[in-house]
């Protein structure tokens, strides 16, 4: 066990990926000497060479398009997109090629490409540096979309993602990069027989079981209201749960989705069946978003358990505003608690 920031945990996870498999590559803008603008790849080019940690030309479609070609040649590229707002030039390669080539080939081609994207707001940045683009990817069949909220998940999930034979969009909550947590870097993620459970399954029996990549987690058990969130909002939701417990005697059960596509909602359904109330939180704009999907599925599955409609707390349906307004834009503790209250008003 070590206490690491999320940034450092990801860095160590990536290092392990490069050590695990000589076919793993890291590619992107400024990932080499600079170690990326967030230093997530710090030191990796120095230790693994510029043949494996590749500073690319400044063109995102090129990054993903050549990564697909490299994957066809047997490599496992990890692409870094510098900021959320700069993934769109690569959107065509992601949506029409990366997501669909396995299907197109009738399963003959696999594209184990991981796309790391620092995402979300709250860092006082200029335009295009604070986007939450997950809905676009979740709507696209053939992609897997995951996000981590803690250093421990950062370390584990990046390794699982890179081991996955599917393309994975790996979303990193950038404003949490510098928050610390316990990480067990000695964990044997893939077990003695890595094929027995598949790369995303549980580890072998002798180790503490590691949560599969596509599993959500009850982060904080509770009895009154189910609150579903992920990534950068987890810390905010947990803070809200503290306040609710203290000020209202309300016990929130907090679930970290972790996997955004496919969704793992069984724990949510089970929770809502107990609580009868559900709030879904993310900072991406609400319109045609993940919270709509979760709300629709929860309602369909637990209709008669619901005391109130599922409440959604999301970023507003505006472009991400200038940074002096972002604190008002982003869901905060008050807005989450207000939604919790709403579930009692019905």
């Amino acid at each position: 066990m070590a206490t690491l920031t999320l940034a450092k945990a990801l860095n160590q996870g990536l290092r392990a990926c490069l050590e695990d498999d000589p076919k793993v590559l890291i590619m992107g803008e400024d990932v080499g000497k600079l170690g990326g603008v967030f230093r997530i790849t710090d030191g990796l080019q120095k230790d693994f060479g510029d043949d494996r940690v590749i500073d690319t030309p400044l063109a995102e479609s090129g990054i993903i398009g050549t990564a697909i070609g490299l994957a066809l040649r047997g490599f496992r590229p990890i692409c870094e997109i510098q900021f959320d707002g700069f993934v769109f030039p690569a959107f065509d390669q992601i949506v029409t090629q990366l997501a669909k080539m396995h299907y197109r080939s009738g399963g003959r081609v696999t594209l184990p490409v991981t796309i790391r994207i620092p995402y979300g707001g709250g860092i006082g940045a200029v335009e295009h540096h604070s986007e939450s683009p997950e809905a676009y990817f979740c709507h696209t069949a053939g992609l897997r979309v995951v996000t981590c909220a803690t250093p421990s998940d950062g370390y584990t999930m990046i390794r699982q993602a890179v081991r996955s034979d599917d393309p994975v969009i790996f979303l990193e909550p950038k404003r949490r990069y510098w928050e610390k947590g316990e990480v067990d870097t000695a964990v044997d993620l893939f077990g003695i027989d890595p094929t027995s459970h598949g790369p995303t399954g549980p580890a072998h029996a002798s180790a503490a079981p590691v949560l599969g990549l596509h599993r959500s987690r009850v982060t904080r058990p509770g009895t009154d209201v189910t609150v579903v969130a992920y990534g950068p909002m987890m810390a905010t939701v947990l803070a809200a749960a503290d306040v609710a417990a203290r000020d209202n005697q309300r016990s929130l059960e907090v679930i970290d989705l972790r996997t955004l596509s496919p969704l793992d909602l069984e724990p949510v359904f089970a929770s809502v069946r107990r609580t009868g109330r559900c709030v879904v939180v993310h900072e991406a704009p609400g319109n045609v978003s993940l919270s709509a999907e979760v709300a629709a599925r929860v309602t369909e599955t637990a209709f008669y358990s619901l005391e109130a409609p599922v409440a959604r707390v999301t970023g507003f349906d505006t472009p991400y505003p200038p940074s002096r307004l972002e604190d008002l834009y982003l869901p905060d503790v008050d807005r989450i608690l207000e939604a919790v209250d709403r579930t009692y008003e019905f």
């Binding site: 590559l25 043949d51 690319t56 030309p57 063109a59 479609s61 090129g62 993903i64 398009g65 050549t66 990564a67 697909i68 070609g69 490299l70 994957a71 066809l72 040649r73 047997g74 490599f75 030039p89 065509d92 390669q93 029409t96 090629q97 669909k100 080539m101 396995h102 299907y103 197109r104 080939s105 009738g106 399963g107 003959r108 081609v109 696999t110 069949a141 053939g142 897997r144 996955s164 034979d165 599917d166 459970h197 598949g198 790369p199 995303t200 399954g201 599969g212 990549l213 596509h214 496919p262 969704l263 909602l265 069984e266 599925r297």
Partner: protein, 391 residues
């Protein structure tokens, strides 16, 4: 090297064969050496079927035996026949669509036969002639246009990537693949096929950036068939497309794409450059789409008067036949055997197409993702629903 008659190229044999065309056929004194501007498009065989000398490129086909030459001719004839049959099948409702290669046989066969087994070709949706050279069963191609599969062959098995419909996208894949070759120390090369229209896409130009910067062993093979659906190639560039390479710092060469020998020579040389660490080359093959863009298109709306006739006079198959006949290389026995082979191919293709089974309905849900260990009840429920519906 030799080219076998089963459609797979053999390993290169650097020794020129002694009954090749090198000595006997040189009747015209010179031709382009490319880059054009130094003499125009590289031509080794005139539209009239006359072999012209070219000091730069002659050595690149000096090894061809008479059998090889007939093999190339056979390829041209068979792919045209297959293509015509596919067009007919589409007209009869057996295919949803067909993108004919008619007119482009030499560009495709010449470049396709330049490849080694370990090379990887990245086609568009029209490279049926290259597919042929890579030993892909024509019926596998038809399964895509019949709507039975997504074009589901194994690229690794054939050295032939999946058809790519999003114009330009595959050119980046080829470049990345070539970067991978350089990384794993292989001697293979990649070749990216694309059209004159595709040259305008950002992806193609980004591929040029990448290939130049990483010195990737990739040949960019632009089949300039003069049209992108209804738009003439000057709508994509005001200078000849092979010149695009200048801007990215690697060589561009223009070749007569209706000349199978020139295309073979130029592509071999370009692949050889790529393999030997000289980096990428752009080949612009000047050719012509004799038919419609696809069976859904009506070229009468835009084609220029006389254009078709002008290009018919440069037909890639006719010139090869004239050449072989006039040099005594094409006996009647070969011709009639080839006719019979073409007929048999057409019959096989037709029969295979009309009897191709529809895909099982559940196959819609197969291979959306690769990692079978992930269970997703939502997806399973959709799958079960369809299963219920289809009984």
């Amino acid at each position: 090297m030799s080219i076998d008659s089963n459609g797979s190229p053999q390993a290169a044999d650097p020794a020129p064969s002694n009954n090749g065309p090198g000595k006997t056929d040189l009747v015209a004194p010179n031709a382009g050496t490319g880059p054009a501007g130094e003499g125009g498009a590289v031509t080794l065989l005139t539209p009239d079927g006359v072999r012209v000398a070219n000091a730069t490129y002659d050595p690149w086909i000096a090894d061809l035996t008479d059998e090889d030459l007939r093999g190339l001719y056979r390829d041209l004839v068979l792919v045209r026949r297959f293509d015509a049959e596919a067009t007919a099948l589409q007209r009869q409702g057996e295919l949803g669509l067909w993108a004919s290669l008619a007119g482009q046989e030499a560009a495709q066969v010449g470049s396709g036969r330049a490849l080694r087994p370990g090379d990887m070709a990245f086609p568009t949706y029209r490279e049926h002639g290259v597919a042929w050279c890579r030993s892909l069963d024509p019926l596998t191609l038809l399964s895509l246009f019949r709507g039975v599969t997504g074009g589901a062959w194994d690229p690794a098995e054939h050295g032939f990537a999946l058809y790519s419909i999003v114009v330009g996208s595959q050119v980046l894949h080829a470049t990345g693949y070539a970067m991978g070759v350089a990384k794993d120390g292989g001697e293979d090369a990649a070749i990216a096929y694309f059209g004159d229209g595709a040259s305008s896409e950002g992806d193609v130009n980004e591929a040029f950036v990448w290939a130049g910067v990483f010195n990737a062993p990739v040949v960019f093979f632009c089949e300039n068939n003069q049209w992108a659906i209804s738009e003439p190639s000057r709508r994509q560039s005001r200078v000849p497309l092979y010149r695009r390479a200048d801007g990215f710092g690697f060589p561009g060469v223009q070749v007569d794409g209706n000349d199978v020998l020139a295309t073979l020579a130029v592509t071999r040389r370009a692949l050889d450059d790529a393999r030997s660490g000289l980096g990428p080359v752009l080949v612009e093959a000047l050719t012509y789409r004799m038919g419609a863009h696809t069976t859904a298109d009506d070229p009468r709306r835009y084609r220029l008067d006389g254009e078709l006739a002008e290009w018919q006079a440069k037909d890639p198959i006719a010139r090869m036949r004239t050449y072989l006949e006039s040099t005594g290389r094409l006996g009647e026995a070969f011709q009639s055997a080839l006719d019979a082979e073409a007929d048999a191919l057409a019959v096989r293709v037709r029969h295979g197409c009309v009897t191709m089974p529809a895909p099982p309905s559940d196959s819609m849900f197969a291979h959306v993702t690769a990692d079978g260990s992930v269970d997703d009840p939502h997806f399973a429920a959709e799958r079960a629903m369809l299963a219920r519906e289809t009984g």
